[in-house]
Amino acid sequence: MKKAFREIVNGNIWLSFLAVVASFIVGGILIAFSSETVQTTATYLTARPTDFISAVWNAVFGAYDAMFRGAVFNYKADNLTFMIRPITETLAYATPIVMSGLGLAVAFKSGLFNIGAAGQIVFGAMFAGWVAIFVDLPGYIHFPIALLAGILGGALWGALAGFLKAATGANEVIVTIMFNYIAILLLGYLLKTPVLKAPGSVNPISPPVHDSAKYALLMGDQFRVHAGLIAMLIAVVFVWWLLNRSSIGFQFRALGHNPNAAKVAGINIGATTVLVMAVSGALSGLAGTSQIMGTEKFLTLGVAASFGFDAITVALLGRSNPWGVLMAGILFGGLRAGAVTMQANQGVPIDIVLVVQSMIVLFIAAPPLVRSMFRIKPQKEDAK
């Protein structure tokens, strides 16, 4: 299993691209099938095939066109704000996915299959949220302290999972999955107690975060995109440096590729495992801050949304390369932003996007499948 995993993580970025293309093709087929006009025209297919073909074209093109207008640029809108809003929405969605995806990329490159992004996001959001909501501080230090608290929260939760692996040999996949449940349930519990619950509220929801602890909006209040985007770009560069230019990252990768040799070379496996998980969790914690201090501004049970899962896909699709993760994350942000418009304009169910995302997972998890679809030869070195 480790070997298959390593192949996916270090696989060819070109295959990722093809996986996306293939998924959109499958998505297009499903869109065509689910369209009523296509279904009707299919009943007299032999009589007038052109009707059928144009119906298919309209359904698929219409849907993807709507998606484009919802995710990138709405050329049909009547003012500039509405025209460029889609891309900013995409970036707003992408921010936490990329951050958390970067965290997983660090773990994957180090041979640790961290599935715990969701829990680590929740911990980041809880820590950051508590500081941002319940602590009163002057503006200029409130934000950085809340930010650090979030990063620390994610790091602690990640490190704890790493510690359990290092100390007991527990499998990190199982530990981090369990930790996701613990984190979510803990959040649910705290949202029912005065620790996090808004006084007087009957719902599990916290009071709003202080203005002084919010990410600044980047393009005024017409747009949701906030300074988390800048934090995300810094995180991309940081992870690139960490993995490719730093001694710590070198040790991470040595651990990921051959723990035995790393051990004989004097690298402390246990400590490195904990550190990898701390860094990985810290980046998911950062994603949590982006959610609570940038986008949502309240703590609810939905704070991690499906970002934990998306982050895994994005890290795999981006082959755990920071720039790859950035691009994959923006793609996923775009799918989310676009799905809404697609449903509203074309009546294409939002679930199609989920199908496309799942197909992407399937295609990257099965490189031989994509290879045979596009008739690509496996890399020569594989033979050895």
Partner: protein
Amino acid sequence: MKLELRGITKRFGTMTANDHVNLIAEPGQIHCLVGENGAGKSTLMNVIFGLYQADGGEILIDDKLVKFSGPGDAMAAGIGMVHQHFMLIPVFTVAENVILGHEPTKFGTVLDIKKARERVLDISKRFGFEVDPDALVGDLPVGVQQRVEIIKALMSDAQILIFDEPTAVLTPQETDELMVIMKQLRDEGKSIVFITHKLREVKEVADKITVIRLGKVVGEAKPTASANELASMMVGREVDLDVNKAAAKPGKPLFKVAGLSAWDHAGSKVLDDINFEIHEGEILVIAGVQGNGQTELTEAIIGMHGKTIGSIELDGRELIGKNVKQVLDLGVGFVPEDRTEDGLVADFTIAENLMLDRSDRKPFVKGLNLQLDFLKKFAAEKIAEYDVRAQGIESKASQLSGGNQQKVVLARELSRELRLLVASQPTRGLDVGSIEFVHEKIVATRDSGIPVLIVATELDEAAQLGDRIAVMYRGKIVGIVPSDTPRATLGQMMAGISA
């Protein structure tokens, strides 16, 4: 069956690993393939076995053109390969391992263990293998595992057998047994291709010898040729097969092991009251049949063995209780027994592998930043010094030939600031020329006043390299004797009889 290669060419990027190679392996002959590390021997075998596709040339079996798109095709055509790294599943029994890969074709869809057992017994009896079909493969010594690989090849009725450096992992006794088996197979009319770096083996079994250098066939040699002639053909220059070293001038005892005992996970004693000293400027060779505690001894020294009591002292400092990093930081260079598992990261470049144990210090790292320019310079120097044959320092370790991988490990360990050198089978897999070079390096290390501990399974190497020899048997040191002790005495000691 006769195997013929015509003009086989195989390239990796810009480098040509096999350049128009012609070769004929006849039934009833053992065909030895020899040549330097990186000459292209394994590549050629992988082409024959369908693991690589040739860029040019033809393969003929019994004068008929064949084409293999994978090992499955090659096996179906009657070719069997015994890999240096076994492809066996340790938790399966011998019989189960043997049916793997053959089940659908040979035994129908149902796993026919009974039939498989019978055939294993059959083959085993025919060749005197003494392999128990019900033993778990993981429990078997390396030599026996290799026989399982051979049985596997014979199960599909292979007529052409390829052995790629099979003896590199064997003890001398196992090697002798393998030679007998190969001769038997030859007498049954199989065509055998045998790769080895050991002249003794070539002289013993070869019917025909082909020498490869830089991917080309450079000539044939007669099995009657002298060892020196063979050696110089293999590497293209005169090789001194003896170790040239002045008498040791041992100084103070810098490395002392006293009362060292260790237990494995299951609680049985693997090291039993080990005592020895190594002086500055002295080489002590630990000789003995593999598996008598040598691995555990080296692990205990570098801080990787769990339960240990006693004392291991270097320069007056106790090593027991220190972790690997602390031990290495005291100046211990360590060449592990298994280079692919413990010595290298296959996916890392040569340069990265050269800094594997130094990724936390100057001049490789400043602050937290890798000094890539320095690393480049360092790596370029080392591959030139150690004659590592590769496309460049950015080649991955996995793309190197076996011997060149070993050279990378040696280059790294010998370039540390050493206070002690511990090397397990430092010349495993090296060609005669590289062995000469590595021996010189080790002697130079000794002469610079450093105690050296070598683990060797070959008596030749032990006697040539060592100043004194300690023989291990069942976790104990049977005795420590001068290196000119007669072979017979050493042999007896290795069987546990103290001198």
